[in-house]
Symmetry: C2
């Protein structure tokens, strides 16, 4: 085959505030040639996540920041076009850190990509969402750190987002009262009517604090935290004794460059457990959890919602949707056709 | 016997900032007469603790605040003078919430006071300190929430104080590298020379941040937090992946009346577990833990240090020593002789 062109976003400058196309070089070069033990992968879907914003910055973070000049880091799914590795067969769908580009190389060893089973009864993009890393993030954060009990009240912020929507649905499966915080009436209706939440709080409404109080008459036992800031503080002030708070993200603070401060006093007085995590902390248990998520999905108990943006060239601006509340469910960029 | 006089501190006004004698009425009245199932206790030692300051305020807290007009709440040890209960014998030493007064009544049932064993080989005041509630606070916070492993670095703030000094000594017994933060050179020397800490950081020195960095070359695995504020934030910024942070107190914030805010980002990025607690959360395990503390004490592995203030009338002003760093080890008021 002729060598295809590979478009790449390379980080040019660290954004302060919103992400602009001008923070990147969008360069074209020939796709790389796989060496021994490698495969060439055509990227199909990119997963856009709040962590992309963190990686662009040089704030304290759990992986090294993307270096200036480096291809922007990002998760995705692709198809193997050419292989010099026994691990990858041409036509295999693979998932991993593809980067923001049309083509990437899959390696063996530590940085190998996951090969998806053939004839998967689940759409590829759902493997980035409810049945993939996003679903696993919700699954482990809620079940391992939140440890919800039947009848307890579970609150989740950014509830109409990729992780939040799965958290709420799993909490319902586990017999909890589920309250979601989301922006705008349409999203709140979606939580109640489509996802089966028990109550929704519209943080864009001027009476959101009253809505929060009304939605949690028995307090809050588990707060799955995605947002940070004043909403997190208001939620923490309503937590019950011995509440648990999986800290998944604080998206409201990523653009500011300021310390993400909040009141610790309820942690002390209510004896709350706050624990930060990232999904890879639970990597050894991915297979069984993925199986459970896929089963729920196929049984119709776990819905996958997504917002698809077409075209690799849209990736930088599209990340801002996560911070503006512009997406519903999983945000992906379609880079090429299935 | 003639009815003795009972002096009592009753809360008159909630302090803002420092505690003054004028926040209390200091009234004298006849000691109460024990009814059926009660005993009259002469108070010997009062335990002064940061929580006294919390109880005087109306901030969000784990017990109801002391009401205006009520006898100030406080823990202590006393001796039974008269008994109408099979639980208490005249001459027994008892421990519990005596209140800030010369005499109190001991009840049966839920609010019963603990009867100390006769011929205890441990000084009475140590039963309020290293071998009592203070020691238990250190014990459960460190071992249950901190879960220190051999060779890990344990940091404790207010390290020369009642709880902090026990935390550090238990961490040494468990084979950890122990770093204490305390105010002034004398306290730092005490940590190193008397208590066997590996390093000490003087927060009153202008270079305390550099001292902290130098004292924790491998980061911090467990932060036993007593202080809050900017010291807590600086410590959290040096915590290792999967660090644990028992949140015992935030004494730097109790006088201000302001929210006790600090940066949450290291909780997220380093996947730290922060958990608030109070010692009574572990009440069902007090007997075995007290036994272990007493054994360490009698073996000379756990030292009890105390600062004794003479006279009930000193109690209000004496609490301020906890906030000024004016005490070393356990702060008690001697109300009457053993």
């Amino acid at each position: 085959m002729t060598v295809p062109e590979n478009r790449q976003f390379r980080l040019k400058a660290r954004p302060t505030g919103r992400i602009e196309r001008s923070h990147f070089d969008f360069a074209t070069q020939p796709a790389p040639e796989p060496g021994p033990g490698q495969a060439l992968v055509r990227v199909q879907y990119l997963s856009l996540d709040p962590t992309n914003r963190i990686w662009m910055s040089d704030m304290d973070q759990y992986m090294p920041p993307v270096a200036i000049g480096e291809v922007m880091r990002g998760g995705g799914i692709g198809v193997v076009m050419k292989s010099e590795s026994d691990r990858y067969q041409v036509g295999d769908h693979v998932m991993g850190l593809t980067g923001w580009q049309d083509y990437c190389l899959a390696d063996e060893g530590e940085n190998a990509m996951a090969v998806l089973p053939a004839n998967l009864p689940i759409p590829l993009s759902a493997m980035l969402g409810a049945c993939g890393m996003t679903g696993l993030t919700a699954y482990f954060g809620l079940l391992e750190i939140g440890r919800p009990q039947v009848g307890e009240t579970v609150l989740v912020s950014a509830a109409a987002g990729a992780v939040g929507s799965v958290v709420g649905q799993i909490a319902k499966i586990r017999g909890c009262r589920v309250v979601g915080i989301a922006g705008g009436e349409a999203k709140c209706r979606y939580l109640l009517d489509e996802l089966g939440f028990d109550a929704a709080v519209d943080y864009k409404a001027s009476d959101w604090r009253e809505q929060l109080a009304a939605a949690t008459p028995d307090g809050i036992d588990v707060n799955f935290e995605n947002v940070g800031g004043e909403i997190m503080e208001a939620v923490m002030a309503r937590m019950n004794l011995f509440g648990r708070m999986p800290l998944c993200g604080m998206i409201s603070g990523y653009n500011s460059g300021e310390p993400m401060r909040a009141d610790f006093s309820s942690i002390l007085m209510r004896r709350i457990e706050v624990r930060g995590f990232i999904v890879s902390d639970f990597m050894d248990r991915f297979p069984a959890a993925t199986q459970e998520l896929a089963t729920w999905y196929l049984e119709g108990r776990l819905k996958h919602q997504e917002t698809v943006i077409d075209g690799l060239e849209q990736a930088p601006e599209a990340v801002n949707l996560l911070f503006d509340g512009g997406n519903r469910g999983k945000l992906v960029v379609r880079v090429s056709d299935d």
